[in-house]
Subunit: 203 residues, 2 copies
């Protein structure tokens, strides 16, 4: 290996359009989120991306691979709020599920849940859109526990899992995204009471 023999054969000819790449991924998310994994047609995705099926198969070997890529592409840097107020930090985390992209992600998750047997697909979706916001909430809780404002005995996993559960449930079954009022109620009436609990009511 002098410089680069086997890898990267000199890229001659017309290069691939990166804009098209992104357009295809976006179209995939939209179509899959709206129609479901099985019902999503490659032709619809191609049409919505303003291209043909060939351009898709030039990049990904199968429908599954395409959807996995689209799910991974949804990853957005989830901020870990640190406002100095526990309530505001929680609100920041919960509000993450209100954004349009989050709603698209959840709708996609709805669908990916259907592909139960497809482990690859499910894991990719979970890692891409499931974990990050939960990790953020977990981090916030850990920080406030360290600060002594939250009981160290609180079941962090259970509490942190509450928010995505509600968001997912609303989108998947009730077909309505999380709204501001619900987010506030979730924080004030559920999360904060659960966290403020000292050492337990039965000593």
């Amino acid at each position: 290996m002098t410089t680069e023999d086997s890898e990267t054969p000199p890229p001659t000819g017309r290069p691939r359009d990166p804009v098209l790449e992104q357009a295809i991924l976006n179209a995939t998310v939209e179509v899959v989120a709206r129609s479901g994994f099985a019902a999503a047609k490659l032709e619809d995705i191609a049409k919505r991306a303003g291209t043909g099926k060939a351009a898709i198969y030039r990049r990904w070997p199968s429908k599954t691979a395409l959807v996995v890529a689209a799910a991974e592409n949804l990853q957005s840097p989830v901020a870990i709020p640190d406002t100095g107020s526990l309530r505001e930090d929680l609100l920041g985390c919960v509000r993450h599920y209100i954004t349009p992209s989050a709603r698209a992600a959840l709708a996609l998750a709805t669908v990916l849940a259907e592909a139960s047997r497809n482990t690859e697909l499910r894991d990719a979706a979970q890692a891409a859109i499931g974990q990050p916001p939960v990790e953020a909430l977990r981090a916030v809780l850990a920080r406030w526990i360290a600060r002594g404002a939250v009981d160290p005995a609180t079941p962090v996993d259970l509490i942190a899992g509450l928010v995505p559960a509600v968001a997912f449930h609303r989108v998947a079954l009730l077909h309505q995204g999380l709204d501001e009022a619900t987010a506030v109620a979730l924080v004030d009436d559920v999360l904060l009471p659960a966290l403020h609990a000292p050492a337990g009511d039965t000593p």
Copy 2:
């Protein structure tokens, strides 16, 4: 109308087997819950029910109608616990989601969520397996509010919606049913703190 003219033409010939009817519905739930709505094959359902496709189409006109009927058939009388203890009542409601039939129902719901465009299907599922347990929880909360043990200002809908959300989320995305430990934690660490809150912490 003397006795019954138009309706019920004298049922001659071999009658339909009601046992088979139930077997088909059960098989439908199992196969659809395992494979998903789209991936569920009528032939698999028939085979699992120990019959042929013809026997199915003799009863329901389409795959969708069959699944709707199967969802409706899942309705089971959800008991409204009244043990004298708020905690026990809540536990009773939450435990409902641990039963095998509840897990099957939730798995089915996972799938029905995918059929977003099919309003008929979604509504049937919601009415059959979504509403009843939530109504039970709502009733329990209402009773304890009436008894004065729970703040009348508590957002009953939000709280009652928490449990199915968690159950659904776990089954659909995490692929694990609700277990006893989680149920207890849900009641002790989430529901009870949210309910015991008096009039609010900021007077």
